[in-house]
């Protein structure tokens, strides 16, 4: 098993921590994992993305030029990463913010109204977890449960009160594709 995932969005949409959480959970399950952030110029603003690789064997390149899965939280990310998805791969789209359709028919497209659901839950910042939940349900790389259990290790102590809402968001996302 080897899964290469790219997650992308605006800075602030939580793509980095979504990636860390996934990688952490993978590690917990005994897989080899790597998490690689894009690191911007010594300057402000713009988009952020990270690459997570989860594998049963040692990971060669921590970068991915043909990811199995891409999750995009905003439009610029869609445009940048949709063309890269491996044939037969999957793209998850934050349909709350992205109206545009994917112009490829060789990949699976999953639309996740992440912000809407997050807003329903009362905190727009958990849109990333909705997305991750959907991903976890679709691909059997890491167990949803392991991800939930990882929350307390990955979130800083002072954010632990947010664990329940994060769990809920993961579930809601998962429910979308189940």
């Amino acid at each position: 098993m080897k899964e290469e995932i790219i997650m992308a969005g605006f800075g602030g949409q939580g793509v980095m921590s979504m990636g860390k959480l996934l990688a952490y959970a993978g590690m917990k399950e005994g897989d080899e994992v790597s998490w690689m952030p894009s690191y911007g110029p010594e300057m402000r603003g713009g988009t952020a993305n990270c690459t997570v690789i989860i594998s049963s064997e040692k990971i060669p390149s921590p970068l991915s030029s043909r990811p199995d899965t891409v999750m995009v939280m905003n439009l610029p990310s869609l445009e940048k990463f949709a063309p890269m998805v491996k044939e037969g791969g999957t793209i998850l789209i934050n349909s709350s913010l992205i109206a545009k359709e994917v112009e490829r028919d060789d990949i699976e497209v999953i639309k996740v109204p992440a912000n809407e659901i997050a807003n329903e839950l009362g905190n727009s910042r958990v849109a990333n977890m909705v997305m991750l939940g959907a991903y976890l349900a679709r691909k059997n790389i890491v167990k949803l449960d392991t991800v939930k259990k990882s929350l307390k290790d990955v979130l800083p102590e002072r954010r632990h009160d947010l664990i329940p809402i994060n769990e809920e968001a993961l579930d809601r996302g998962a429910a979308l594709v189940k």
């Binding site: 010594e42 300057m43 402000r44 603003g45």
Partner: protein
């Protein structure tokens, strides 16, 4: 209708890359306005530092250098010695000028190098993500003073303007702030003097401008300028420290 506040000729059209509310932008505009008002756009050569204002060379519509970190005064010296009749200025942050570039600014000042330095003191390293600067306030938390600046191990905020005033070669030294319109107006006056001093060949001129870094201070811009007024100004007294006739 008469234009009361416009877009200075000495700025290119390029939007600044600075964070929202970063007062580097104000200072850029003031410098550009002064260059416009003195009519020296085509006589001026600027030197950008390494720091958030590294891209200053894209904003000022004058001949520009991008210098290595801290060495802008040395670069400016090289330029001024080749073109003694041109106006040469450096624009530098506090990491750039007050830390790595200490020797260069002191010796440019001591030689009485006829250049103008705009010294943007925001008490932090902006570009690299909020590390402690020698100008960081006592107790201020930064990414490399996570428990707050401790004078016992890291010393006190360094007083550049006071120190440079001691040197015989400095002709004009002032400290200003840009936290409100009144102070911005004073800042502009000081910057203008600092260029005039050069035009008149009097010696080295420096204006220390207290500036806000909302991003690395972890504050909203409005909060940041208030913090500037409430905390930095008391630590760094404003005023003209030196003016040679």
């Amino acid at each position: 209708m008469k234009l009361v506040a416009g877009y200075p000729d000495s700025l290119t059209e390029k939007p600044f890359h600075y964070c929202p509310g970063c007062t580097h932008g104000i200072i850029h505009r003031l410098v550009a306005e002064v260059i416009d008002e003195l009519g020296i756009r085509e006589e001026t050569i600027g030197v950008a530092p390494v720091g958030c204002s590294v891209l200053a060379y894209e904003y000022f519509d004058v001949d520009m250098f991008e210098a290595s970190h801290g060495r802008a005064p040395a670069v400016a010296t090289g330029v001024k010695r080749v073109h003694p009749d041109k106006i040469v200025f450096t624009y530098q942050g506090d990491g750039d000028l007050a830390s790595i570039g200490t020797a260069e600014i002191i010796h440019a000042a001591n030689r009485g190098e006829k250049i103008t330095t705009i010294f943007v003191n925001n008490a932090i390293y902006g570009m690299t993500g909020g590390q402690m600067a020698p100008t960081t306030l006592v107790g201020q938390k930064t990414t490399t003073s996570p428990f707050g600046r401790d004078t016992n191990t890291a010393g006190h905020p360094i007083k550049i303007s006071e120190m440079l005033s001691v040197l015989d070669g400095s002709a004009y030294i002032a400290r200003v702030s840009v936290h409100d319109p009144k102070h911005i107006r004073q800042a502009k006056k000081a910057i203008k003097k600092a260029f005039q001093v050069q035009i008149e060949g009097k010696g080295f001129a420096l204006v220390e401008v207290l500036s806000a870094c909302p991003t690395n201070w972890g504050m909203a811009p409005v909060e940041a300028v208030k913090w500037l007024a409430d905390n930095m100004v008391p630590t760094y007294p404003l005023g003209e420290f030196k003016e040679v006739e």
